[in-house]
Structure formats: C-alpha cells, structure tokens
C-alpha cells in the first residue's frame, strides 16, 4: 500500500484493483495471463488519495461468461454504496459475472412497485424481514437452493438466519448487522462539562435536564428520510418499549397479539415526545425534528451543537470524514449504551438480508458470495477505505457483518465490541417495525409517527390510525 498527501481538500479516492489472472491448471503453458483492471472511483471529501492494488486469481475457463446480475438495495450515496459496489466489482472481476448494484433511499417503495409490476432486480437487499415474509408469501422471491443454504449455514448463526426464514423455508441470507441501542457522544466534551455517562433511564433524563440548565443542547434528533421519513422515531419507540414493557410485551406487540393502540404504547409515545418537546432539549438541524434528515445529525454532534445522538452502529458512516473513534483524542466520538430502566440490558438490533428473484446459476453464485466471509471482509475493507483512512488506524466504517467467519481484525476495536454485544446480550430483539407487515412497519408506523412528532395529530389519533391499518 502506498500513500501520498494531496493538497486539495476534495480529492478522489481511487481504488484500483489490478487483477492479474492466473492461467488455468490445464493449459497454463500456451495461454498468456489475462489482466482485468477494475477501477472504482469514490468521490469523498478526504484529504488523501489512497491507491490499493489487489491481486486476484481469475480462472480462465469462465462458466459465467456473458451473464449479468442486478442487485438493488437501500444503501445509496456515500461510503456504504461505494463499498457495496466495490465489493461486488471485486466478485465480478473474479467470476466474470457482470454485477450491477443500484441503490435508492426509497428502496422499500420502489421494490414493491418493481416486484408487483413484474420487473424486479435479480437480487434485492432487504432491510426488513417483515417485507421478506410478505414477498415470500406473495411468491415474489425464491427459496434458497440447498447448496446456497449450506454455504449460508457455514457462515451464520441460526439467530441471524432465522430472520430470512419464512414458514420453515429459507428465503434470505443476512449480510449486515446493526446495533441500534446506542447513543453517540464525544467523551472529551462530556469530561470538559463535567457530565458522566448515564447508567439508567432516570440518569439520562436528569442529565438532559442538567444540560438544558447549563445552556447546552442535549440531543440531536432528525427523522426525515425521504419516503421512509419516521423510522428514527420508530427506533426510539421500540427501544423504549423493550425497556419499559419487556421482551414478552415487545414480541406480542410486534406480532399484533395485542392491539397497537393499547395504553402502554400511548405512554411510551408520550415519553418519547415529552423528551423531544422539552424546550431546549433537541437540536434539529433543519428547524424541526420532522424536517431534519437523520443523516444530518453527525456534523452538529461533532461541532458540539448537541451532546448526544441516539442512533444505530451504522451511523459512523454518516459522521464527518476522518472523525476519530474512541481513541481518547479531542474530537473523538464514542458510544454508550442507551440506558435501561431495570437491571436487564435489552439490545435492539437490525440488519439487511439478501433475497433472489431469479432462478439462475449466476444469481445463486452472487448470493453465495453474499453469504461468504469474502464479501464481509471486502465490504468492510472498502467501507473503511471509503471513510478516508487505512484500516489499521481504526476508523469506524459503519459496517458490521454477522458472518461468524468474518475477519475481526479488519474492524476498529469499538465496532468489534458492537459485534460482541449483539452476539452475547441476554435480550436481543430485531427492530420491531422491520418485522411488522409492510403496511404498518414501512407505512403507517412511519407516517403516523411523523404526524405525531410534527404535532399534526394527537398520539391517540395516530395510534388508532396505525391499528386500523394493520392488515
């Protein structure tokens, strides 16, 4: 690896992979080595130009010549999309399959239109197991063939594969994990102001009050996300439901064995909104919580306009370039566990899963690549590169893989600890809205939540509307 300084503030991060082909075993003598060069340009605001050369063996006899696979997913823009693309480019160069990745922020709307309209992608990256269940029952997505399922089972624990299992049939492979019960903060700023990390929910509330009294703004909150506006709010609700009402209630709430508009739910919404509506408690970059994009909260946090931001582990991908992570330096960001009410420390997790729409050998080949540790490692390497620094510096990439064979040394210590927490916590629950039917989980829970946050509706009106929309 070679590095050199670049004077310009905005530079191109050029990842050049010169892939030198090794001839096949049989006729190595009379065949000249083929060279495939894959260039992936990442436009990022970074101060360095990094050139990495990866040498990969390419088999000469190519069973997948002239085949193409399209992948569609919600990761769009920034390091996430570029890393996804680069990881797939790498596989494309190795296998000869022409793999195209397309990302869209309003993925959950678009995939419905595409699937119902009969022109789906070959593979889709689903952030919601609930949608996978819907699609499997509609007959849109295909069950995994036994070989692909075997590759998956070698790499993932059953706790993760279960989210892609619908009525006993495996439809999807987990590709990414997120730990949601986290609060991002800057330890140095906390220390300077004399604040301590809160251990309980009451500590958190009193810390909030103290900060307001000191003239500081405790929270950064924004729930705008295009067609998915409102999901940040649902995350807060889910985290608090897990804390105040416990996992049994949570499970019943998710599978709708208790109505959505029950009094406990109303009181949880009230708790969230009371905190957000406390004067001076929230810095909303675009003037109001409902107008502020969830991705716009990283800069204010680093700038000190707010002290805390509750968001999942992937949020490090949205922090400004080169923000140091948990290394004790001045501007470093770190996370603390979103405090619980009792002794139990429940954890909210989420993730993405891939599922196939077309039955073809090249599609299953790409699916098996998604299931492999190769994908997990390549994605992590590129995403860390995309964040503007070498892996060894311990920059947070924002990517976590639930793959048990993934190379943990590629991750910053902080992100390694996320994986530990997800794998060892006593109570782990998947993001509830992602498990609910899409009418609610990707529909009214978001829109009615946004109405309640924006003050267009009372909490009870919003809850009643969600309950009425449950299919």
């Amino acid at each position: 690896m070679r590095k050199r300084r670049n004077l310009t503030k905005t530079a191109l991060l050029l990842v050049v992979m010169a892939l030198v082909a090794a001839a096949c075993a049989g006729d190595a003598a009379n065949q000249t080595p083929e060279t495939v060069v894959v260039t992936s340009i990442v436009t990022e605001t970074v101060t360095e130009t990094v050139t990495e050369t990866v040498e990969v063996e390419v088999p000469m006899a190519d069973p997948f010549a002239d085949t193409a696979v399209t992948v569609f997913g919600p990761e769009s823009g920034g390091a996430e999309e570029e890393a996804m693309r680069a990881a797939l480019d790498l596989f494309a160069a190795k296998s000869g399959i022409d793999v195209t990745y397309l990302g869209a922020r309003d993925f959950s709307d678009q995939i419905n239109a595409q699937a119902a309209g009969g022109n789906p992608p070959d593979i889709a990256v689903f952030p919601q197991p609930g949608k996978i269940a819907d699609f499997a029952r509609e007959g849109f997505i295909l069950p995994l063939p036994s070989e692909t399922e075997a590759v998956m089972n070698d790499n993932f624990s059953s706790a993760w594969t279960a989210f892609g299992n619908v009525d006993g049939v495996q439809y999807a492979i987990p590709t990414k994990a997120d730990l949601k019960s986290l609060v991002w903060y800057q330890p140095a700023r906390f220390a300077a102001a004399g604040y301590t990390v809160p251990e309980t929910w009451d500590d958190l509330l009193s810390l909030t009050d103290t900060m307001i009294a000191d003239g500081n703004t405790p929270w950064c909150v924004g729930i705008e996300s295009g067609g998915a506006t409102g999901w940040t709010f649902t995350d807060w609700v889910e985290d608090l439901t897990l804390r105040f009402e416990g996992p049994e209630y949570y499970d019943q709430w998710v599978d709708h064995s208790i109505p959505f508009n029950n009094p406990q739910m109303a009181s949880i919404w009230q708790t969230v909104l009371d905190l957000w509506n406390t004067p001076g408690a929230v810095f909303a970059n675009s003037g109001s919580i409902a107008a502020t994009s969830f991705g716009d909260n990283g800069q204010p946090l680093v700038d000190g306009k707010c002290f805390m931001h509750r968001q999942a582990s992937f949020y490090s991908a949205f922090l400004p370039e080169g923000t140091p992570a948990a290394d004790g330096s001045e501007g470093a960001v770190d996370v603390f566990y979103f405090p619980s009410v009792g002794d139990e420390k429940p954890v909210l997790g989420a993730g993405t899963l891939v599922s196939a729409f077309r039955d073809a050998p090249e599609v299953w080949a790409v699916m098996e690549y998604f299931a492999s540790a190769d994908y997990a490692d390549a994605r992590q390497r590129f995403q860390a590169l995309g964040k503007g620094a070498a892996v060894t510096e311990g920059v947070l990439s924002g990517f976590l893989s639930p793959n048990v064979n993934a190379d943990l040394s590629l991750y910053a210590p902080l992100e390694q600890s996320f994986l530990d927490i997800l794998n060892t916590a006593d109570i782990v629950r998947f993001d509830g809205s992602d498990l609910m039917p899409s009418e609610v989980g990707a529909g009214t829970f978001w829109t009615e939540g946004t109405s309640a946050v924006n003050g267009d509706k009372t909490i009870q009106e919003a809850l009643d509307a969600i309950e009425a929309s449950w299919p």
């Binding site: 959950s108 709307d109 419905n112 239109a113 119902a116 819907d134 509609e138 295009g226 067609g227 506006t229 409102g230 810095f283 909303a284 970059n285 675009s286 003037g287 109001s288 409902a290 107008a291 306009k305 899409s438 009418e439 990707a442 529909g443 829109t447 946004t450 109405s451 924006n454 267009d456 009106e461 509307a465 009425a468 929309s469 299919p471």
Partner: protein
C-alpha cells in the same frame, strides 16, 4: 453494426407485416359480397382463434394446443354454417350450438399452469369461477331488464329479445366472472358458466336472418373505416381502455385482487380520517380567514351596488368588484379547506387555488405585457419555469423553503433556504439601528411618492391609476409600520424561522405555489396568443367610440377570449387533480399534504393494497370525468 442491422430488419419487418395485415384485411372484406359463407367462416375462425389464443397465452387452458385446435375448427365450421343457412331455426341452432360447445370446451379445460416443479411436474391451479347462483341470476335477469329498457328507449327498433339477450349475457359475464372468486370453483361451475356465455354470444348472430345482398355490400363498405381505425383503437385499448376496466374491477376486489368485496374500498376511503375528515367543520365559521373573506366579498357587493345605482340597475359588476370577489372567494375556499381536512379535500383545495391563481396571473401578465416594450423578453422569463420538470421544481423549491436551526452568531441565523434567509434577515434589519433607519427612509419615500401620485390622479379623474396607487399604498404603509414595531424572524437576539413545509395546513399553499410557478407561463402564453387574435378593428372601433383601455378590455377582449379561458381552466383542473410529483418530492404526503395521486401510489405500491389504490384511482377518474366531458363537448362545438 449488428445492432443497426437488427434494428433495420425489425423496422422493415414490422412495416411489412403491418402493410400485409392492412391490405389483407381490405381484401378479406372485399370477399364479403360474393363469397358470404367463406367470409362468415373466416369471421368464426378469427373470433375463436383470438379468444382461445388469449386463453392459451394466459395459461388458462390444460392441453391448450389440442383444445385450441378443436375450438378453432368448431368456430370455423359454425361460421360457415351460419353463412349459408337461411332457415331461422337452423341458424339459431348452429349459432347457439357452436357457442355452447366452445364455452363448454373452455370451461372443462380451464386450468392455470402456475409453475413447474424441479422434476418437471406442472403445478396446476384451478381458474374457475365459484358461482353463487342467487346473485348470478340477479345479474343476468337485471342485465336482460336493462336490455329491455334500452330497447324501449331506443324507440323499439330492433327485436326486443336481441337487446335482452345481449344485455343478459353481459349481466351473466359480470355475475359469473367478475363478482365471485375466480380460483376456487368446480369444473361443473366452469362448464356451466362457459356454456351459458357461449350460448349468449352464439345466439346473437344465430338469431339474425341471413345477410341480404344489400347488407353484404354494406359490410364491405363500412369495413373500411374500421380497418383504418383499428391500429389506433388497438393502441388505445391496450394502453387506456383495458387498464381502466381492470382498475374498476380491482377497486371492487380485496387488497391483492383475489376476492370480491363490493364497495368496501370506497367505504374505507370515506371512513379514514386521513382521506376524508369533516370533524373540524365548525371551526370554519370562527376562522379569521372566513371573516376576512366574507367581508371582502361583501365589499365587492357594495361596490357593485354603487355602480348599479349610477346606471340604474340593482347591482352592476365591474373590475373592482370582480377583483374583490375573486380574492374573497379564494380566502373563503382556503378557510373552508383548511378545516375540512384529508386527501380528498386537500386535492380540491389544490384544484381551486392553483386553477384560479394560475389563470388570473397568466391573464394579468398577458394583458400587462401586451404591446409593452420588452414583451417577448418578459414573457420568456415567465415562461422559463415551464421547462422544468415537476420533480425538478419540487427539489428547487424545497431548497427555497429550507430552514436551519438558527444560531445566534451567524448572519441570518445560518439560514441556507432563500425565503428563511430573507425572513430572518428582515428580522435582523428591524432589530438594527442604522440599516433600519435607511430602510425606513426608503419605504417612507415610496409611500410619499404613491400618495402624491394618487392625489394627482384623483384630481385628474384618472380613476384606475388613482385607485391602484391607493391600493398599493396599503401594504407599503403597513410595511413601514411593521418595520418600526418589528417584523421578521428575530427575537431574543436570534433568528426565528418559518417551517414552510411542516406547518399544516398552510404548508399546502407553499406547495401549490410551486405548481403555480410552473403553470403561469403556460396560461400566460395561451392568453397572450388569444389576446393578439382579438380583431384589431373591434378595438379600433371601440377607441373611436371613446372607450377607455379598461372598458375595451372588459367589454371586448374578455368576451372574445372566453373560449380560451375555458380551455385553460379545464386543462389546469385536470392537471392539478393529477398532481403527484411535487408532493412526492417535497413531503411525500407527510404533514397533512397528501393528494389523491400520491395516496393512490402509496396504497397500491408501498402497501401492495391494490383494491384501495384502484378505488382511489377510480375516485380521481370520476372527479376528472366531468371536466373532460365538458372539454370534449366544447371542442366538438368549436369544430
């Protein structure tokens, strides 16, 4: 090169096939007078092969090859027999018999190949109607009665039983295939449904007497226009008529289009407070907007009464009263539609506001720019936004409306959106000392200038100028006063922002502004052309008779361009009813800004609830329909 070649081949091939089809169709109809029985056989052949090939293509038949072959044979022979027999009873037997045979055939082999398992066995899905005999009889008898009624209305020309037969068959189709579930019936149900349908269709030609020589010639002559129309009709059928019918059918079915639910989807639209909300109607009478609007409308009546007294009638409309009625009406509609909430009312609000404002502004600009010095340049600038797509316009205006959490230290509170920067900047101005004094001096000078102008105009009896400068004086004086007492987003040493997009219900007006911005160019261009087309002799004659500019505008130009106003208004109404992109881009229907088109899209595609989505589409369709009919009627009159 290869691509070019295939493209050329494709173009030549499709043109050739079209030409052959076209010439062939003409030649076939040339056959009609001399070889009637062969022609009749051909019609039978074409009809049955079309129907059975469609069934085949949709995987609705088991062993489709054999079945289609048998069906085509029956159809051809039936057609041939009908073409040569003149005996009434035999004809009926041939027609009805062939039809019943075909229906029974289709019914008994009705299966849907759903997929093929790995080992090659097909997964078969029954595609058979689950007949409910009560409703089915009701539909059929109802259809027949409708047929009789049509026969009576049609001055009893054709035989009554043919009309009853035709509409009874239509009733049967609805009762047997559209109402019940199509995938859970038995084979005998399918045979029965098919046989009766075949009987109905076959009996129609069977009950007609054999065509006379005159009729055969007429078939030949009449066929020409249909051959010419066929390609266009086919295109419209595929892209417009069939989707419309399918949407209608889907709107009566459940979320996935499987079972019949009647008008449940329509009920759901009106039961949901997100789409239809009357609960706050009482607030209408207590809202400020209502009172201001009502007072302005009343002022309009007072002005009209004064004018009426002058010329000795009760009330007399004139430009000042039209203007006040227009403004008052807009305010009243805003008052009503900001308390009646929900998607449907919101869409109505869009229609009223955007149509009225865009029309009025377009007309005003066209009149003011007419014969002005830099007319074409001014019109070009106003026309420019027309070139921007709705999505683009939405994104541009989202940036204009953008708000930022105000911070004290930065100028304008760190606003990045233009409108909020202006607003906070105005606040800064009114909180400052010297800049404020300079601004006050400027505004004061303008106010004094306007006062002088108005006084002079009153003395010279130039009433138009006098009144317009007086009206213009009102906001200037108000602004002067506000500057003194404080205006704009500034309090406690920091900016105060306006959340243009989030504060309901008036955020809707800000979204409408975007559409108005893009549409004013369109209305202006059309009106400008219409005004230029007003005959110069009329205007000259009026001038000779001593009419003022204002009089000749209201008495000559406006009556001359009324048809154009009609076209513009109806076009705008249809356009605004369908508004989608702007709302989708700017709010996605959040914050009480939902419109029917976006709601439809969300229900159908975000939630995969095709029943509800289709019902919303039908509501939109029905709402647009009268406007379209009106437009078409006028176009026909104009021709």
């Amino acid at each position: 090169m290869e691509k070019l070649l295939t493209t050329i081949l494709g173009v030549v091939g499709s043109v050739g096939i079209s030409a052959i089809l076209f010439i062939g169709a003409n030649m076939i109809f040339d056959l009609a007078p001399r070889h009637w029985k062969w022609f009749s056989a051909l019609v039978g052949f074409l009809t049955t092969s079309t129907v059975f090939l469609i069934l085949w293509a949709n995987d609705l038949l088991l062993s489709p090859g054999t079945v289609t072959l048998i069906a085509i044979t029956i159809g051809t022979v039936g057609g041939f027999a009908l073409g040569m027999t003149s005996n009434r009873w035999l004809r009926f037997a041939y027609g009805a018999g062939a039809g019943m045979a075909l229906g029974a055939l289709a019914g008994s082999f009705s299966q849907n190949v759903f997929g093929i398992l790995e080992d090659g066995t097909p997964v078969v899905w029954p595609a058979r109607p689950d007949l409910q005999f009560g409703p089915l009889l009701g539909w059929t008898i109802g259809g027949a009665l409708v047929g009789l009624a049509i026969w009576v209305l049609n001055s009893r020309q054709k035989p009554a039983y043919r009309s009853a037969l035709f509409w009874g068959t239509v009733g049967w189709i609805v009762g047997a295939y559209m109402v019940p579930s199509l995938s859970s019936g038995t084979q005998s149900d399918a045979i029965l449904a098919g046989t009766v349908l075949g009987f109905g269709i076959g009996a129609l030609p069977g009950s007609k007497p054999l065509a006379s020589a005159l009729e055969r010639n007429r078939v030949k002559e009449e066929s020409r226009k249909y051959i010419f129309l066929a390609p266009a009709f086919l295109f419209i059928a595929v892209t417009l008529i069939i989707p419309t019918i399918r949407t209608l059918v889907l709107s009566l079915r459940d979320r996935r289009g499987d079972g019949f639910v009647g008008v449940e989807n329509y009920k759901a639209i009106f039961a949901n407070s997100n789409t239809f909300d009357l609960s706050d109607w009482r607030l209408f009478f207590t809202s400020r907007l209502f009172w201001i609007g009502a007072i302005i409308v009343l002022i309009g009546f007072v002005i009209a009464r004064v004018r009426g007294k002058e010329i000795g009638t009760r009330i007399q409309g004139s430009p000042p009263s039209y203007a006040t009625w227009f403004v008052g009406g807009l305010l009243l509609s805003a008052a009503a539609l900001s308390v009646l909430r929900g998607t449907l009312f919101n869409n109505l609000w869009w229609v009223i506001t955007v149509t009225l404002v865009a029309t009025a502004m377009g007309l005003g600009i066209a009149v003011l720019a007419d014969r002005a010095k830099y007319e074409s340049a001014a019109k070009s600038i106003i026309f420019l936004p027309m070139a921007i797509s709705f999505v683009g316009a939405g994104i541009i205006w989202r940036f204009m409306f953008q708000a930022r959490q105000p911070t004290a230290a930065v100028p304008h509170g760190g606003q990045t959106g233009l409108l909020n920067a202006l607003w906070v900047g105005l606040g800064e101005l009114s909180a400052s000392t010297w800049p404020k004094l300079i601004a006050l001096t400027l505004v004061g000078a303008i106010a004094i200038g306007l006062t002088v102008l108005a006084t002079k105009a009153f003395k010279d009896r130039a009433m138009g100028l006098a009144w317009s400068s007086t009206v213009a004086l009102v906001p200037v004086v108000w602004f002067f006063y506000s500057l003194i007492v404080g205006i704009g987003g500034w309090a406690n040493g920091r900016g105060e922002i306006i959340l243009f997009i989030q504060n309901s219900p008036f955020n809707n007006l800000w979204l409408m502004l975007v559409l108005i911005w893009t549409q004013v160019g369109f209305t202006m261009i059309i009106f400008s052309a219409a005004i230029k087309a007003v005959p110069a002799e009329l205007l000259e004659a009026a001038e000779v008779d001593g009419a003022t500019e204002s009089q000749s505008f209201w008495q000559i130009t406006i009556p001359q361009i009324v048809p154009t106003i009609g076209v513009v208004v109806t076009t705008l109404i249809v356009l605004v009813m369908k508004v989608f992109d702007i709302v989708k881009v700017m709010t996605n229907g959040n914050f009480d800004t939902q419109v029917i088109a976006n709601e439809m899209w969300q229900r159908a595609f975000t939630e995969l609830n095709f029943g509800l989505g289709s019902a919303l589409a039908v509501v939109l369709f029905i709402a647009v329909l009268p406007v379209i009919v009106l437009n078409v009627r006028r176009m026909q009159k104009a021709v």
